[in-house]
């Protein structure tokens, strides 16, 4: 346990070094204030954001949007990926559309979604869902498609019917790949969330960044950006820790 804590601290060392260099550069006057606010200024802005309750309420608004979009993407994505892997006609119909949408920067679709779905939460959630959907579908499709035929044969020889194979073998065998796709979707959810809140929003962490940046409150803006980075990191760690518990049978690379 102590070794693990020491190891964890060691991994954070580069971050502390960057932080220390930043503060020193400011203290020696190498870093003009208009270029980058001091870490101490960012820290006190962060404290003010916490105390006013502004951070908590906007975090809640953001997490609700991202959470709903992400959840829809995971459910639809796994379903669609499995269907594509099992039914050739569905694969042929959907694959070219997916490949076309995949490289499009999803925030670029926000104006279009607002025309279709209004400027409220609905269009934001829809864009987040679409962006998160793609890595989940692709991972599920690849995972379900690349199940070792030996496992399928093995199950068939032990009495598993063709249509039960999906639950008994295909999905569990594809789970490591699906889990990796979902992990990508977590990061994408945060990226697209913030972009969507830049545009005509009255709440959320993206809105905070945009409005503080707009009035030149760089320290508060940066505080929210760093907070977002930490939030994303935390969500990813929690997800991976949860996976390790649930999927203890799988050898994780990291």
């Amino acid at each position: 346990m102590r070794a693990r804590i020491a190891h964890g601290a060691l991994r954070l060392l580069p971050l502390f070094l960057v932080l220390a260099a930043w503060q020193l550069a400011f203290a020696f006057g190498w870093l003009p204030k208009w270029l980058l606010p001091a870490p101490s200024a960012v820290a006190s802005a962060f404290k003010a954001l916490v105390l006013s309750g502004e951070l908590a309420s906007n975090t809640a608004a953001s997490l609700a949007r991202a959470g709903i979009g992400f959840a829809v993407a995971v459910i639809v994505g796994i379903g669609l990926g499995v269907l594509m892997a099992r039914v050739r006609a569905i694969e042929l119909a959907i694959e070219p559309i997916l490949l076309l949408i995949y490289p499009v920067p999803k925030p670029a679709l926000i104006p279009l979604f607002m025309i279709w779905l209004g400027i409220g939460n609905f269009s934001k959630i829809a864009v987040i869902a679409l962006a998160c959907l793609l890595p989940v579908v692709v991972a599920t499709f690849n995972g379900a498609r690349s199940v070792d035929p030996v496992l399928l044969w093995s199950a068939r020889a032990r009495g598993t019917s063709e249509h039960r194979l999906l639950w008994r073998v295909v999905l569990p065998a594809a789970l490591p790949q699906i889990a990796a796709g979902v992990r990508t979707a977590i990061a994408i959810a945060i990226i697209v969330l913030v972009s969507s809140e830049f545009i005509s929003s009255e709440s959320g962490l993206g809105f905070l960044i945009f409005s503080y940046g707009g009035v030149g409150a760089d320290d508060a803006m940066l505080a929210v950006v760093l907070y977002l980075a930490f939030l994303g990191y935390l969500l990813d760690r929690l997800y991976v820790a949860g996976l390790r518990r649930i999927m203890s049978w799988h050898a994780f690379a990291h």
Partner: protein, 252 residues
Amino acid sequence: MRYGSGAKAVAALEAIDLDVAQREFVTIVGPSGCGKSTLLYLVGGFLKPTSGSLQLHGKPIAGPGRDRGIVFQRYSLFPWLTVAGNIAYGLEEQGLPRAERERIVDEHVRLVHLEGFKDRYPRELSGGMQQRVALAQTLACNPEILLMDEPFGALDAQTRRLLQDELRRIWQRDTKTVLFVTHDVEESVALGTRIVIMAARPGRIKEVVTRGFDVTDGDEFDANPAFVDLKVRIWRSVKEEVEAARASGASP
């Protein structure tokens, strides 16, 4: 039996004519690429023959079935199930009640000497232990026929010898019919009461040899002159095929 279609189709097997009696232990030996695994997959019902027929008790083989259990070379365990879960798999699919399943699982865990490993996952086991689990998983379903596709091929020599002894003992106890594919000539003689030698390209049966003596495990049967003679004879026959395959430009 052909792979692919049209001009690119490769005849994997041709003119195979083999009758296997109940309770026989038939080993199939031959150079790589002679289609010995294909033959096994046909019997398993995983592949369909392009011509000819396969029959089990006079009825054509339509697909995989619980009467035929298969053990693959490796990586055939379900990685998300524990040792006990893997062994219980076929029993769950049969809908056996829990108490019954547990009894059969425990019995088979003991049979393959994996007491204490019931709750481990396949990735935590050595190759030899994984193959023991695969054997137990198949035996637990109590199939009439055991199909074995080079099940010990990826193991080290000592482990292989131990597992051969275990398999022989299980076969003597349960007297199941076994079809065992191997590229190891010694293994084919050590296990098979009848040894089928196959030739490559197209895969066909070259020779069928009946082992005229008993092999009992534990002792040094491999020093028995009759064993050595048969081994040498079969090796010569297989070697001709390996050389023929090499001359025709195929691997190795």
